[in-house]
Amino acid sequence: MSADLTELYQQVILDHNRRPRNRGKLPTANRVAHGDNPSCGDQCSVFLRLDPGAPGQPDRIAEISFDGSGCAISQASASLMTTQLKGKTTAEAEKLYNEFHAIVTSGHAPEEISDLAAFAGVHAFPARIKCATLGWHAALNALKNDAAPATTESHTD
């Protein structure tokens, strides 16, 4: 197996693909968004519960889950993302996504970033960047929504 491929399919990624964390619908969700990758048919829905912060403080993600189908990269990325976003504010989530995007496009990860660095290998496979970012796009869309009930997007697959 080539070095590029070993780098792409890291143990962390394989583990999250095999045993996804926070997978399934979140009954208490107050935000939901759906991501589609039309070129390949990958799908990802992200459910989250955004709790109001203390007076003067921003809202925080209290719970988050994902559901969908796709390749190992997209599923592992969504799974790992849910473990990283819990407890974050919208601004913090956006900052983390920007860092993640820089990792998958450049192949370089800042030292303080741990698990997300596993996706650095994606940069050698440009066609797979969309797979890695699918769940993140859904999560950011969910965060941008008005606090509507979890029915803004329904998905029947």
Binding site: L5, G41, C71, I73
Partner: protein
């Protein structure tokens, strides 16, 4: 087999390269075929010697270009046994051809209460244009169902009898499914459609370069196909239309080259095929498509069909031994065109394709522009290996060896 077959791989320059350090094994022919030297040379020769605008020119180059372009039209007509070269309209490809019929014919003939019939196994390009035509006209779109949990049973011919009523004004169907490898009984479909007065549209993208194709024997009204899937260039395709139908049809696009008399207020149209070829046509690619027809007929499409089918059966036999594989489409031994589409429990098609590419094996993974069928089969994607004249049994071994490695890596085998 003729001696031409012995050198077939030599004819395709692109095949002689390494991908990721391994000899290229190109098994993505359903998406696009590779081009023989003769076709590539025809493009170069045209641009080096004859390039000029066609039809209205009186100088030497324009006359040469016009002769070559109209010669290509006649060559394509012969390729599908059209009665008249005027029945060959050059388009950008299958999608463009089907859209032309859907807009032009659909606009003129469809009305509320009419039914447009298609099938559950169509490529999006033979489904979405009919959705649009039905929506625009108030007609209803219906699909002939496919049989079997793996779509192994082909289209439901009993259901077709129920669906093919006098309300059906047009029946659009594929000859060979790009996702399943199913070969539809198109002559029978044309006959049944004719019996209720419905116009037929055949998507021949996967078939015309792979098997003998005779529009008159089939009794087809419209046939759409692409050059690039049959050894020709991208950006050129064909719409065949029966002369009587084309003559009644209004143009889709208008402009130069397709008019007889123009005033500031109005214009009159040339007959087919010019009526449907507004603007400067894709001269170079049409000429090269004619050369592709020569190439394929020299090999003989009977033999191409036999070669493709033999590879497909070999692939079926070897792939079916892999653990957890689900092959969709016709069962082993049943008629199948030169492609096999499959899914593994626990390994997504995109991961399969990425790994196979590491071994130089080019596959396609995804929904194959067939989302509703995937959904019906409970799949989101499959991996597809599709074969053509230059593929060999050894390449199927390379495919299977690569797949075994993937299954091992993901802990499936």
């Amino acid at each position: 087999m003729s001696d031409l077959w012995k050198n077939v791989r030599v004819d395709f320059p692109i095949l002689h390269q390494q991908v990721n350090g391994k000899p290229l094994v190109y098994l993505d022919n359903g998406a696009t075929s590779q081009k023989p030297r003769a076709v590539i040379d025809a493009l170069v020769r045209y641009y080096e010697r004859d390039n000029s605008n066609v039809h209205r020119g009186l100088h030497a180059l324009s006359m040469r270009a016009t002769d070559a372009y109209e010669g290509a039209r006649a060559r394509v007509a012969r390729f599908i046994n059209a009665a008249d070269p005027a029945e060959i309209i050059f388009t950008r490809g299958t999608t463009d051809s089907i859209n032309l019929v859907a807009r032009s014919w659909g606009h003129a003939h469809l009305k509320p209460g009419d039914v447009v019939l298609t099938t559950e196994i169509e490529h999006h390009s033979n489904l979405v244009p009919w959705q649009q035509a039905a929506r625009a006209s108030g007609a209803t779109l219906k699909c002939v169902p496919v049989l079997g949990a793996d779509a192994e049973g082909g289209l439901d011919l009993a259901a077709l009898d129920q669906l093919l009523t006098p309300q059906v004004k047009l029946f659009a169907f594929t000859h060979i499914s790009n996702t399943l490898g199913t070969i539809n009984p198109v002559a029978e479909f044309c006959r049944r459609a004719r019996a209720v007065g419905a116009v037929t549209v055949i998507d021949a993208a996967q078939s015309v370069g792979h098997a003998p194709f005779d529009v008159q024997a089939l009794g087809a009204d419209f046939v759409a196909f692409s050059g690039h899937k049959m050894c020709g260039p991208t950006g050129i395709g064909v719409l065949y239309g029966r002369r009587a139908l084309l003559d009644q049809l209004a143009p889709d696009e208008t402009g130069g080259g397709m008019v007889v008399n123009v005033t500031y207020e109005a214009a009159t149209w040339k007959p087919a095929p010019e009526r449907f070829e507004a603007g400067t046509p894709n001269v170079a690619d049409a000429i090269a498509l004619g050369v592709a027809c020569d190439y394929l007929d020299a090999l003989s499409r009977d033999q191409i069909a036999a070669h493709d089918a033999a590879l497909a059966q070999l692939a079926m036999e070897k792939l079916s031994l892999l653990p957890g594989i689900r092959i969709i489409g016709p069962r082993a031994g049943a008629a199948r065109s030169g492609l096999v589409s499959f899914a593994f429990e626990g390994v997504h098609a995109h991961d399969v394709v990425t790994f196979a590419d590491e071994d130089g094996v080019a596959l396609r993974g995804g929904h194959h522009c067939n989302q509703p069928l995937m959904r019906k089969l409970g799949l989101t994607s499959t991996t597809r290996a599709s074969f053509y004249v230059y593929n060999t049994p050894e390449e199927i071994d390379a495919l299977v060896a690569s797949l075994r490695k993937i299954l091992e890596f993901f802990g499936v085998a």
